[in-house]
């Protein structure tokens, strides 16, 4: 019925006393997410949104048998928070923080490879299994339970696509915002593999954007491995080379790699239809269910 998160996911919020941390903790709890504790150095012993706060993440995770951590700490401290989260060996870490320095992330990624933890993000809206649990900042109200898996590098674009699906009464199994940074913990291939193995996901929407070669690699992976129908969308067809389009990762290189054209071509040659607009994406999905 879902991938990665569900009713059993037990979540600790890192940075729960910050403005964003607190706001979204309330939102997550309201959505039904099982938030068991928070962690903020020097704030141990307090309570925020009804959950206990610990000085160290390790105490929070250990004392509450947590299985996941959501990271809401400012960019300068986000790498440290992720190293701390990896050190607790939880199953899942979701980093919302935008603006993590690239070299910090490169070191986190190196460490990640030595662990069994899955990292989503950074610079992502999080993950939601409608009706069960959301970890992150996704607006819960726009999602509905269903059988379409959604994976996207962009937050608001995800909402737009979900909105177009909802207008056609198509719900989602799980939606994963993998984040708009150049180095991320979970990429398209990881998400596609999870959705393809999920018996309750009957179609997958994959929203890519310019920059890097993840979409091209995902297209090859789909061609060789994925049996669930996939529909694509690529943002940034009009982006000029050498400019960072908002996301740190959304940049077409000077040599012309990472273009929307290359990604669309790769997907189409893997028999993945690519919508010109979010509405077209929803049309394609509808026709494949």
């Amino acid at each position: 019925m879902s991938v990665l998160v569900d009713d059993d996911t037990r979540v600790v919020v890192q940075g729960i006393t910050g403005g964003e941390g607190k706001f979204h903790t309330d939102q997550m709890i309201e959505y039904g997410t099982n938030i068991v504790a928070g962690a903020v150095p020097g704030r141990g012993g307090e309570h925020v949104s009804g959950v206990p706060v610990y000085d160290t993440l390790e105490s929070a995770v250990t004392k509450h048998d947590a299985t996941a951590v959501v990271v809401f700490v400012p960019p300068a401290f986000a790498a440290d928070a992720m190293f701390e989260a990896l050190d607790t060996s939880v199953d899942l870490v979701v980093t919302i923080t935008e603006g993590v320095p690239q070299q910090d992330m490169s070191r986190v990624y190196r460490r990640l490879q030595e662990t069994d933890t899955r990292l989503i993000g950074p610079n992502c809206p999080g993950i939601i299994t409608p009706g069960q649990s959301k970890l992150g900042i996704l607006p819960g109200n726009i999602f509905t339970e269903g059988n379409v898996g959604l994976v996207s590098r962009s937050g608001t674009l995800t909402y737009q696509v979900v909105d177009n699906l909802t207008q056609r009464d198509i719900g989602q199994s799980t939606a994963i915002g993998i984040g708009g940074d150049p180095i991320i913990g979970t990429d398209f291939i990881d998400a596609l593999e999870l959705f393809d193995a999920d018996p309750d996901t009957d179609a997958i929407v994959m929203c890519g954007e310019i920059g890097g070669e993840d979409e091209e690699e995902a297209a090859a992976y789909i061609d060789n491995n994925v049996t669930t129908p996939v529909v694509g969308f690529i943002a940034g067809r009009t982006a000029p080379p050498g400019k960072r389009m908002g996301h740190a990762g959304a940049i077409v290189s000077g040599s012309g790699t990472g273009t929307a054209a290359s990604k669309i071509e790769a997907l189409e040659s893997a028999d993945v239809p690519v919508g010109d607009t979010p509405a077209t994406v929803a049309d394609y999905v509808e026709s494949r269910l």
């Binding site: 300068a76 320095p101 690239q102 962009s154 674009l157 993840d214 960072r244 908002g246 000077g254």
Partner: protein, 380 residues
């Protein structure tokens, strides 16, 4: 953030990488004085961020004062691929026997740095990569340990540099440290010139620094305004917007990178031309809305504006209030504005919006089509 050549050279020289003597000049007289002081021949190089400056006439050699004067006059004030040249770097011309390429960048797919060396420096390395990929020797760096000296030597020897390989390896090691110490996303020397005496000299210098890490490099952040190519991009820095200027006439404001890019694409899809990328980010309130409108109205090319907000954290009613507030301050709305609000509190927002000042559309497609029509009308 891209440093100018002269800024990057300053950083490189501080770490001991040999660079030619040079001086920045912003007038012809300054340039001639600099050339006299350095000694002829000199190269006079436009300080703007465009590739292929040489081919485009942005780099000239001068053998004497007359040639220096004439080169500086030609280059200062010229328009190079749309950018105005305000400064030139006057630099000792180096006699060389070979030109090498060395660079460090992040391989985002691998999540780790990669160092590169090629014996075919002095030309556009992207072209070399396309024509003869094996001419560029690459080596991944483990970010936990940094570049080991043996790796630097290995790429240099594999690139076939022979006698200068160990010197080039040393430069590469220094370049890597510089990349790491400054949170660079890319550093490059092209060409690294080899002189007749087998010394190596960095004849050009490229350095891009991670915008997200500028907070820990105040000395580089200070160079930022100087490095901005464009007044509007400079303004965007001040307002802290993700902004990219394009050459169309439909101004675009939205929230979230992917959605804004998509809005640009749909403007194009409906036959319009986007004037910019502008992301107001999550949770934007009135002031950011006002600033965003200021940005697009300041762009003289803009004939029509589309506002596309899908509220998650961002609330439609707050954005609507911001739009009203910003526009009500103006005596006249400079260009027609089309607004589309969806998501959190979108209906409340639509009710609030002052429809004397803006047009409101329900869907992304309709809003974009309307904005494109407005722009086309203005063009007629």
């Amino acid at each position: 953030m891209k440093l100018h050549e002269h800024q990057a050279k300053g950083v490189f020289a501080d770490t001991g990488i040999p660079t030619p003597s040079s001086q920045l000049a912003s007038s012809v007289e300054e340039a001639v004085d600099a050339a006299d002081a350095i000694g002829y021949p000199v190269a006079i190089k436009a300080q703007v961020h465009v590739g292929g400056r040489g081919k485009a006439g942005g780099i000239k050699l001068a053998e004497n004062e007359d040639e220096a004067r004439s080169a500086a006059s030609d280059i200062l004030g010229m328009d190079l691929k749309g950018l105005h040249v305000e400064d030139v770097l006057v630099e000792e011309a180096v006699d060389f026997t070979d030109e090498i390429y060395v660079g460090v960048t992040m391989d985002r797919g691998a999540g780790k740095p990669v160092v590169m060396v090629s014996a075919r420096g002095g030309v556009d390395i992207e072209e070399v990569a396309a024509e003869d990929p094996d001419a560029i020797v690459r080596e991944h760096v483990d970010p936990a340990f940094g570049l080991h000296p043996y790796q630097a030597r290995r790429v240099a020897f594999e690139a076939g540099l022979g006698a200068v390989a160990t010197d080039v390896a040393r430069v590469l090691s220094t370049l890597y440290e510089l990349w790491e110490d400054n949170d660079a996303t890319e550093v490059e020397i092209n060409p690294l010139m080899v002189t007749a005496d087998e010394d190596v000299v960095a004849a050009d210098a490229v350095m891009n620094v991670d915008d997200d890490a500028l907070f820990r490099h105040p000395e580089i952040a200070e160079m930022e305004s100087e490095a901005a190519d464009d007044d509007l991009e400079q303004k965007a820095n001040e307002y802290d917007f993700d902004y990219v200027r394009l050459d169309g006439n439909v101004g675009i404001i939205g929230n979230g990178a992917g959605l804004v890019m998509t809005t640009l694409d749909i403007v194009d899809y409906y036959g319009g031309a986007p004037a910019n990328f502008l992301d107001i980010g999550g949770g934007a309130k009135a002031e950011r809305v006002t600033n965003a409108l200021d940005m697009v109205f300041s762009d003289e090319n803009v004939e029509s504006v589309v506002f596309n907000i899908f509220g998650g954290i961002t609330r439609g009613d707050e954005v609507a209030a911001g739009i009203n507030e910003a526009l009500e301050q103006l005596d006249e709305i400079p260009k027609p504005v089309t607004v589309r609000l969806a998501g959190t509190n979108a209906e409340e927002g639509q009710e609030i919006l002052n429809t004397d000042l803006v047009s409101v559309e329900e869907t992304l497609e309709a809003a974009v089509q309307h904005a494109v029509e407005n722009a086309q009308e203005a063009d007629r």
